[in-house]
Symmetry: C2
Subunit: 453 residues, 2 copies
Amino acid sequence: MSDRVKYVLEESRLPRTWYNIQADLPQPLPPVLHPGTKKPIGPDDLAPLFPEALIRQEVSLEREIEIPDPVRDIYRQWRPSPLFRARRLEKALQTPARIYYKWEGVSPAGSHKPNTAVPQAYYNREAGIRRIATETGAGQWGSSLAFAGALFGIDVTVYMVRVSYNQKPYRRALMETWGARCVASPSNETESGRAILAQRPDHPGSLGIAISEAVEVAAKSGDTKYALGSVLNHVLMHQTVAGIEAMEQMALAEDYPDVIVGCTGGGSNFAGIAFPFLGAQLRGGRKVRIVAVEPAACPSLTRGKYAYDFGDTSHLTPLIKMHTLGSTFTPPGFHAGGLRYHGMGPLVSHVQELGLIESKAYPQTACFSAGVQFAKTESLLPAPEANHAVRGAIDEALRCREEGVSRAILFNLCGHGHFDMQAYMDYLSGKLVDQDYNPQELAMALSGLPSVG
Amino acid sequence: MSDRVKYVLEESRLPRTWYNIQADLPQPLPPVLHPGTKKPIGPDDLAPLFPEALIRQEVSLEREIEIPDPVRDIYRQWRPSPLFRARRLEKALQTPARIYYKWEGVSPAGSHKPNTAVPQAYYNREAGIRRIATETGAGQWGSSLAFAGALFGIDVTVYMVRVSYNQKPYRRALMETWGARCVASPSNETESGRAILAQRPDHPGSLGIAISEAVEVAAKSGDTKYALGSVLNHVLMHQTVAGIEAMEQMALAEDYPDVIVGCTGGGSNFAGIAFPFLGAQLRGGRKVRIVAVEPAACPSLTRGKYAYDFGDTSHLTPLIKMHTLGSTFTPPGFHAGGLRYHGMGPLVSHVQELGLIESKAYPQTACFSAGVQFAKTESLLPAPEANHAVRGAIDEALRCREEGVSRAILFNLCGHGHFDMQAYMDYLSGKLVDQDYNPQELAMALSGLPSVG
């Protein structure tokens, strides 16, 4: 093993294909159902929302899907992203563990989200689309689609969860600098939004509501498509560019992960780092423990039900089989806004159901504590979402110390926290508290799941 | 010439030495004078403020000074930093120019400042120092020293210009996350601060005042040293790591700059990119035009006097020969806080006096206009300081278009604007205005320059 701290791949090693885990699954993914007929939907049902190329990727069983050259041309501005050995953190933890992290904060938007924003904008432009509507929680996805839209000449409208819209004017300013239009959700621009505002004019919003608004705009308009920043199969697949690079970088480090940790909201950064390794295992390669870390206040994988549910609050989407807290569940307003979603990507849910991954939930103060320790040793300041992965990785490393065993731990440091400093200020001043979800509300949301067949 | 957009050097190509332009100057730098005797100062005069190793570097005439291994160990987390060909910006400008930029925003603090913060913390720690006092304007320097201090176990106190302290709580939060203590300047902690507050309790502060406070703390205490983020020779020298890398990266691009552009406050990022190329020219190599870009509201190089002056407002520093607006000059509160300093680094002043560089001043709206155009094409969001370099580079590229000539333009994109979004919001909403300096105040400040010999 080398004594290096950074593993950088040459631009020529930028992956030429994404990895599609659907090719290697021991059991196929349950189909997506039409909410009226409860029958599997076909490509035509999705055509109002997505360009054909993305619909094909959503259901493809091909193992490798080519990354178009114009997408690679943009990727190569920041990709291959670096992989680091966290030697200073290891020393501070006095652990025999070898901790590695993939650093996705080097993208222009500061997170992993551009990995899918760029191809989504590209395929839409190729299909002649000039307008896209989307939602955003903390703003990482909205800003990523804003910058991708700017590059391909696509007008982007972002429905931003109102509480984040008000709390994070700077994330909004970033989107607007790249030319996107940002609207607080629920808004008066859609029926979904108006219906919710009629019931509660000061509604703080949720990702489920913002999705309803963006989907409604796309479904009703002839010239606008919809884009989603996580959950869907093609989105998770675009993120595998990070895991494919990480496999090669671990080889440069002459090492291989025993454990992989990622934070999960809809599952995209987690799948991005984990699926290429899991795929290798499924094809007979080395087994790796994979741990999904989620917020205790929005615990879809650890407390949700694996069932068919809507992806949005107003029930405009098809029914997806996933770990869900119920589409009417509103998580408390904790700081990792990117993880505040009632459901989990169907592929992540499926591999958990198959026993191929583990999951774990942490309250936010424990995550910020890990994030500050990471910042003081490794210098990079993680996003609140990424702090969940840091917490999970540190706990794995501490277990290595207790057991006196050296394991290789790899985690995805999926974004920086430069737009989340209020959360750090709250944490440092002792104001940050752990808000749990309301168990009655969860029970009610789960009891309202749609009945399927 | 290749068609690549990114030029990355292997970790093994991280420079082993800094470049000291004092070895190649056609005339030596005028000496620093004792304010009482008006005679050149000796190392003993600086010993209360700096560790011996840095004092030796300040006056060294050696061309190459070795970068210590522990410093390189930290540098290699983000260095060598990437150099980009701005192909999308070139296309938008319809220019035949080849535009390159060195991207220093990849450091943990988001700017070039860690290039000197890390060695300064290292040399202090080697000298047994456990406490450092410093100043900061916009916060890029203070946060860089905060993170470097965390790595070397040094307590850092940052006197932050009060107007920035109030306007930029998130920059402050970043410093505090890394463990530094941040104090609004002028403060009640020093005689310098108390004297100014007695005259004007709501004083907004200035870099000159904050320097006085930090210098006073170091001079009076037995266990605290002082650190400066720009201006001094050793600071500019540490920044040459960027220019040395850029020379190698330009060679990878099979190109060589005809023009180099950098923004200038105290001169450190400018010197960092330009001096290695200027040194090559001075040793008989290819000539390169070098353009320093400064804010029209604080125009030390274009409107200042080349004269001996104090580095701080309370006149605690030695006298330095530099382009200065007078140590009592208070620039208006424009958004590039890192460029709001009355003086210019003596080395930058000296090479301008020798006719080796040009300088140019821009109002801030013109710089933000360039920054937004850059963000929309190249995707990275520049700091307000860096927008001055972007403006300068774009204007050079437009000149190429007018003249129908293809030139290679290299500029230093010295930091990101993630902590400066209020300025972008002001610009986008049309609220950002160009504030000029007060000519009477400038005349008065210049008339008060100390008389020397």
